[in-house]
């Protein structure tokens, strides 16, 4: 309601200039303070992940023998020996490892969300567009999949087929496309009766092309919103698995693995080992949740 009122006044002022749906959404997004804060946080985290390595004075695999075995006394964060975030008990630089962990966690989040989006969109759009019996069978299957405690199945997969990062990427994505499929199907149902779809049908465009060229582009807003909200969930899933020691393997690391390590050593007084990875973990999640909520407010047709 508010936005329509604003629109009318805006068009009164500049009657000749129309605004596209996307421009309108962008304006609403830019006005959302929480979303802008989230975006700023995400930019910071991304800069840290990409360029943090240049600032590090130690590589993530190097051992600092001066500190090794005495992390609690000597390994604290300090500018003098170049360990900005301190070290672990092996003398590995926590700054470099946090940079790497952030990279891996972001990568798992984004790639997992992309996989979930592609699978969910194709599945949901197909089910929604075809409709009828195919639709009900396909959606019933989704119901069945959603009733499975997928984390256990994912761990089962990881253990059986080797704990490689590729399987982690794919597995994390493949277990979370169902929600996406439901949302996309719902939107497709409301799109398929529109005139432009009927026009395409009348001119003899084939079904896969209609789905790809006419249905999916009109779903992009919804997809963008839920993709952004999926990323933090993917990061959570990956961190959970890494926390159990079943995710990425040394020397590679992720925020979850670092948190797990820090959580295991807090009794020895090396609080920084928990604190810094935790800080970046929380910042990343906050950023994505805020941006996702902002995008939803700006783009989701339900709220208009």
């Amino acid at each position: 309601m508010v936005s329509t009122a604003e629109q009318t006044t805006a068009t009164d002022v500049a009657p000749k200039k129309g605004r596209s749906l996307w421009a309108d959404a962008r304006r609403r997004f830019l006005r959302n303070k929480a979303a802008m804060l989230g975006l700023a946080i995400l930019v910071f985290v991304a800069l840290f992940a990409v360029f943090g390595g240049l600032l590090a004075q130690w590589s993530n695999e190097e051992l600092d023998y001066n500190v090794m075995g005495q992390a609690a006394q000597l390994g604290g964060p300090s500018l003098e020996n170049g360990h900005y975030f301190g070290t672990d008990d092996l003398g590995r630089d926590l700054f470099a490892r946090t940079v790497q962990g952030t990279q891996i966690s972001l990568a798992v989040g984004v790639i997992g969300a992309l996989i979930a989006c592609v699978v969910g969109t194709v599945y949901g759009a197909t089910a929604g567009y075809l409709g009828g019996r195919i639709d009900s069978v396909m959606m019933r299957l989704v119901d069945i999949f959603m009733a499975v405690p997928y984390m256990f199945v994912l761990i089962l997969l990881l253990v059986m087929y080797g704990r490689s990062i590729t399987i982690l990427f794919i597995g994390v994505g493949l277990i979370s496309w169902m929600e996406m499929a439901r949302i996309v199907r719902g939107q497709t149902l409301s799109l398929k009766g529109r005139d432009f779809v009927e026009a395409a049908q009348a001119t003899g465009v084939s079904t896969p092309v209609i789905i790809a060229r006419h249905i999916v582009p009109n779903l992009l807003g919804v997809i963008a919103v839920y993709a952004t909200l999926l990323v933090p969930l993917m990061i959570l899933t990956e961190s959970f698995i890494s926390f159990l020691g079943l995710g990425v393997q040394e020397p590679m690391t992720s925020l979850g693995a670092l948190i797990s390590e820090g959580a295991g050593t807090i009794a020895y007084g090396t609080t920084w080992q928990l604190g810094f990875p935790l800080l970046f973990f929380v910042l990343t999640l906050f950023g994505f949740f805020f941006v996702g909520d902002g995008l939803r407010d700006a783009l989701d047709p339900k709220d208009r």
Partner: protein, 305 residues
């Protein structure tokens, strides 16, 4: 109602069978058998072992035997690593612990979450409301594996109030339950708050107020039931999340629950135990979802079955 129940059962039972068969096939297709060791076993020994565990039968027979044993006797067979223990013994050892803090966490999450949500909605835009919203946003980024170390750091190491691990009495229950329930409590509070706010604007609430009912009766008798519907549909996912989170609790607090057995078996490649736990958790989830669906249909008069 009976038809609806039967319909739901007709979905639940195949789901469970599917889960059993799929995890069996996954296990079967995995590279490296349970007896692949660093030192290769003599062929005769391997053949004897395979015969003992029934691994030399044709695949369809293995599946049927396994499903039959699971369905008729909850018998998950022997462990592949601990030669003298069955999967059932391993599960039976940890399950009561998991069940205890699981149920406690669930109760805490629902009771505290719903109360907080109602309080925030009734005192809309008050300090309490903002606090509740703040807490629920914060808890979103504090899943159980983050809560657990923070709680131990504060309450065990800094304050020294509570034990940070073990399972010997009620004081050992507090930290695991808080760690497991916080994020779900926050989600439930958020859902309750927003649905309560929506219900409070509806006509029947205005009518109830207009006829002079005291506010607490309006809230509890007229607004609560419709406001709880979204909460009820969230209980299914919350249950799955808690089952999953119990693994973290078992690992971090050494509570000795079933999650520890699961992770140990994952690290040892003890497929029999992994499958047993997965199927048990799957069965619990499916059963719980069934209960939730029936409860929803029973409470919501708009659902026709």
């Amino acid at each position: 109602m009976l038809t609806y129940t039967l319909k739901r059962l007709a979905v639940a039972i195949p789901t469970l069978l599917l889960l059993i068969v799929v995890s069996f096939l996954l296990m079967h297709a995995a590279p490296g058998g349970p007896f692949t060791a660093e030192r290769e076993l003599p062929p005769q020994v391997l053949a004897n072992l395979n015969a003992k565990y029934g691994l030399d039968d044709p695949l369809w027979k293995q599946i049927l035997t396994y499903v039959w044993n699971v369905v008729t006797g909850f018998d998950f067979g022997p462990s592949f690593i601990y030669k003298d223990r069955t999967v059932n013994e391993i599960i039976a050892q940890g399950f009561p612990v998991t069940l205890t803090y699981g149920l406690l966490s669930f109760a805490v999450a629902v009771v505290v979450g719903v109360s907080l949500g109602i309080a925030a909605a009734v005192r809309h835009n008050s300090a309490l409301d903002y606090a509740a919203v703040g807490v629920s946003i914060g808890a979103q980024v504090l899943p159980n594996f983050v809560m657990a170390p923070i709680l131990v750091l504060v309450f065990t190491l800094w304050l020294g109030w509570l034990p940070g691990g073990g399972w010997q009495g009620p004081e050992y229950w507090i930290l695991p339950v808080v760690a497991l329930s916080t994020s779900f409590m926050a989600s439930i509070a958020r859902i309750t708050r927003s649905s309560m706010l929506e219900v409070l604007t509806q006509n029947h609430i205005r009518t109830a107020r207009a006829k002079g009912l005291p506010e607490h009766r309006v809230i509890l008798r007229h607004a609560l039931k419709p406001a709880l519907l979204p909460v009820i549909s969230y209980l299914g996912p919350a249950f799955v999340g808690m089952i999953t989170g119990s693994v973290v609790v078992d690992i971090y607090f050494s509570t000795g629950g079933i999650g520890k057995a699961f992770v140990d078996s994952a690290l040892n490649r003890d497929y029999a135990v992994m499958m047993g736990v997965t199927i048990l958790m799957g069965a619990l989830t499916i059963f719980f979802n069934l209960v939730v669906d029936l409860a929803y249909a029973w409470i919501d008069p708009k659902i026709r079955y």
